[in-house]
Symmetry: C2
Subunit: 106 residues, 2 copies
């Protein structure tokens, strides 16, 4: 049952935001605030990282969720929705759900 196995594995949501450089810090602050006050308390949240590009034009937010079901429940969570709408108003966002296929340490 491949589908069931997949649904029981950790998934990673990677949001790539394309942003005007003068709004990059505002977007970073919004995502840090949303992660601290809401996302980390949503059932199934494992961890998250927020990255800002040195060229000022991108912000990447990756979040690990215990399962695809937990991630999909978050998308409908009343506390999460306003944060996602605020971020989408500041920048163009491209979200995709991933599985990690390799981790390498030097």
């Amino acid at each position: 049952m491949t589908t069931l196995a997949k649904d029981n594995r950790v998934v990673t949501l990677i949001n790539v935001f394309t942003v005007a450089p003068e709004r990059q810090q505002q977007l970073v602050d919004l995502l840090m605030h949303a992660t601290e006050i809401t996302m980390r308390h949503v059932p199934g949240f494992v961890s998250a990282h927020i990255h800002k590009s040195l060229d000022g034009t991108r912000v990447v937010n990756d979040a690990q969720w215990r399962s695809r079901d937990d991630f999909e429940a978050m998308l409908r969570h009343p506390a999460a929705i306003p944060h996602m709408q605020e971020a989408a108003a500041l920048a163009q966002v491209e979200p995709h759900v991933y599985e990690v296929v390799e981790t390498v340490h030097g």
Copy 2:
């Protein structure tokens, strides 16, 4: 000296590849091979993750480098260049260099 400080911090290269679903696994295999046989041995390599999107259309490769100087030296490394060209031939790639501004655990 903000510039010097920045150059001495770990940076993260995040490559977002847009790929035809029938080529996603080929791209993943290529990136895993390049990381194992070349990238992990390049001076300044810290760690890397390869992610494949569940919808088949994206691959994300993030790699931590000891400093921006190490990352820029890698771009000119004779062993690294053919791997980057092979990957770029398989998919559209959007690379940016980032700093991590927040890490949160649930």
